[in-house]
Amino acid sequence: MRFLMALCLLLLAAAPAGAADGGRPVRVVAPWEITGVDPARAGYIFGRMGVAETLVTVDTAGHLVPALAQRWSQSDDRLTWRFALRPEARFHDGTAVTAGAVAAALERSRAAGVLGRAPLESIAADGDDVVIRTRTPFAPLPAFLANHTAMVLAPAAYDAEGRVNAVIGTGPFRVSSLTPPLRLEVERFDGWWGPAPAVARASYLAVPQGETRALMAESGEADLAFGLLPVTVDRLRRNPRVAVHAVPVPRTRLLKVNAGAPFFDDVRERRALSLAIDRAGIAAAILRSPGSAAGQLMSPGQAAWHVADLTPLRHDPEEAKRLLAEAGWRPGADGILEQDGRPFRVQVRTYSNWPELPAIATVLQAQFRAVGIDLTVSVANSSDIPAGHRDGSLHLGLVARNFSLVPDPLGTLMEDYGPEGGDWGAMNWSSPELTDILATLGAGVDDAEAAALRRRAMTILQDALPVIPVAWFDLMVAANERLGPVTVDPFEISYGLATLKPVR
């Protein structure tokens, strides 16, 4: 009987929906599965779909802009932040967004979110304001609040044990149906504080296979397809119904180097490694995006951190061999370099969450072999990188590091290049000068001084190479022309559904 009922429901679900109100739903496909309703897990999906909001967000140029908080201020001693909420804001269950509810949501997010990494003293409600106190001056706090883990959910979203059991947010769209791990459907929320969106309904489908996503974009079944494989992009570009956007995002593919290993403890060895890499070849052949060869850690898109006149990292295998010889490495009988009888045999660990990483690793294997380094590639789980960092077993890790997790790259840099290094950054390498610079920037200084400090920080990283940048990142997005003009958010905070004006 239940089967018959299920059959009826399935047939009903197959009927065309959304024709009456605001046209056809906007259909988004992306590789990321909805791994749970807790903001710390798949919160970014609910953020991007416009379901839940943070107090602060960033515009596409990277400037902090008000979201659920209409304005904020910092006290003179720089320890107290005051966020004024929008009085007209409502949760999707109709309840008002009170300072108490926001403070409680933020307090909960400290357990697993980025706020847990900020030096917070307290989060409290004061009238209509949320007041956050820090133990030390912490300039990037508003940027930390823009992260999806600091999303504000209604008190009713939590069960008695404090677990999130529904995403009751404040955004322009509310959840109309959710089938984890694959599908989320949303509809316009009329109580939103901002201008009413033109899109009435939208859906998100997690499609793990890149080939399928591309074919869905091609057939018009997906209006917005994210995470396209470079090999499928050429074909999509020839399709007149689809516009392909390649948007540089603040993410860099880099080699994390164990600077404590005898292979990499000398800066000349790390420089040789960098010189052995043909970045232009990787960018053109694997990534199909010649501009993404990384001459330094930060891409030009991160204008505040990119140092235009820094000498770019280059490809020069002969110079690499010379530096390795200087560092005491001599070719052995089989052509592999040796130092004190130890052959230069190392392993690079990578993971396939980003499908191009294993391909890049095998190219590095060939390029390192050309200078006498025997590299084995281990494609494993992403957690093997932090695990190898902790137990010291990692030689090299090829990772795609996100510098906009907290939209200000400072957050990631503090985590990755502190005195103890970082799970995804430096390993057995630190620079007291860099630590000082990051701490000073964290406490907050005036703009001119900050610019000089950022420049110095990037120069230190470029000279010492605790990590070796390989390629910057273009987010490849296919948009159906029926959507009209589409703006892709390089910070991957929003899909921009609220501002879309579909032409059909």
């Binding site: 399935l10 749970g36 807790d38 897990r41 791990p181 957690s383």
Partner: protein
């Protein structure tokens, strides 16, 4: 009646044994795998961007992963006795809830695949068997070899390109309606039909060469009645047995098909749970699969017994 009940009682005991063994073996295997479970769970929960060793330590403390293994296993057995499968370590949702969606979706997909494969494979096999050694037989063999040899991934992509991109008749991916079932169902059905058509062909050819068919013909029955009365039922016995066995192929194919067509299902869920070291989810999905096998075997037994009462008498 007792003749049919006895094997069913046997299957019930089998189901219980399967449940316990599956739980034990999956628990043991998950702990035998290299790598730190807390790290894996944290990576699946938070993704590579937010995953840190501290996050893994929090996961370890929250889930009590450093408790002795027998304690953790006893906990699972205790819960199972009250029909509680626990909560997924990754999503935090009850395993039973996730299974309801995923097993349900998988059953629909398996049903669609089986129905389509029978619609394709049985007539093809019957035709080939009745024309054994002639052109239809050769064509059916060539098609079966080709379809069985193609990886599911390739068949699926070709079907998407033809039916979703070129013709625009069917959705390339997704779930929820019968149209979403057709392409993944067909992808699996091709592989299934390739095998079942060969078994049908051999069974049909063998039955049609049997003395009782020769007798039926000699006594003057029209060919249609010879095939329908004497041929089909006898030929059906091995075919039904093979359909049961094909469940193995289905589960294997589903892992690929579910991810290719973005279709929720138990194969996909199991693979992800293993990667994430999500032990309750692995135990739950393996349990559901094991019990499905037992159920299908019981149904096949019953069908075979109905087709051939001699088996029960024996």
């Amino acid at each position: 009646m007792a003749g049919i009940l006895r094997p069913l009682a046997g299957r019930a005991v089998q189901a219980l044994t399967v449940a316990l063994l599956v739980g034990l073996v999956s628990f043991a295997l998950m702990h035998a795998l290299p790598g730190d479970p807390a790290m894996r769970i944290a990576a699946s929960r938070y993704g590579p961007d937010l995953m840190t060793a501290e996050a893994a330590e929090r996961v370890r403390a929250e889930l009590g992963l450093d408790r002795p293994m027998p304690v953790q296993l006893a906990e699972w057995v205790g819960r199972l006795a009250t029909f509680d499968l626990g909560r997924s370590l990754v999503t935090g949702a009850p395993v039973a809830e996730e299974l309801e969606i995923q097993l349900g979706a998988s059953l629909w997909l398996a049903g669609a695949a089986l129905a389509l494969s029978m619609a394709l494979g049985l007539p093809a096999g019957l035709l080939a068997g009745m024309r054994a050694g002639r052109l239809p037989d050769h064509l059916a063999l060539a098609a079966a070899v080709l379809l069985r040899a193609l990886p599911v991934f390739v068949t699926g992509l070709v079907l998407i390109i033809v039916f979703a991109v070129w013709l625009g008749w069917l959705p390339a991916a997704g779930f929820g309606g019968w149209r979403d079932l057709l392409l993944p169902g067909l992808t699996l059905a091709f592989g299934l039909a390739a095998l079942s058509s060969r078994v049908t062909r051999d069974a049909t050819a063998a039955v049609l060469a049997a003395p009782y068919v020769a007798f039926a013909r000699t006594k003057g029955l029209p060919e249609r009645l010879v095939v329908l009365r004497h041929g089909v039922r006898n030929a059906a016995i091995p075919v039904v047995a093979v359909l049961g066995l094909q469940l193995v192929y289905l589960v294997e194919g589903m892992v690929v098909v579910e991810s290719l067509f973005a279709y929720p299902g138990i194969g996909h869920a199991l693979v992800h749970a293993i990667i994430a070291r999500d032990v309750p989810m692995v135990q739950g999905t393996a349990l559901a699969m094991g019990l499905t096998f037992v159920l299908v075997n019981a149904v096949v037994d019953l069908l075979c017994a109905a087709l051939d009462p001699r088996q029960v008498a024996r």
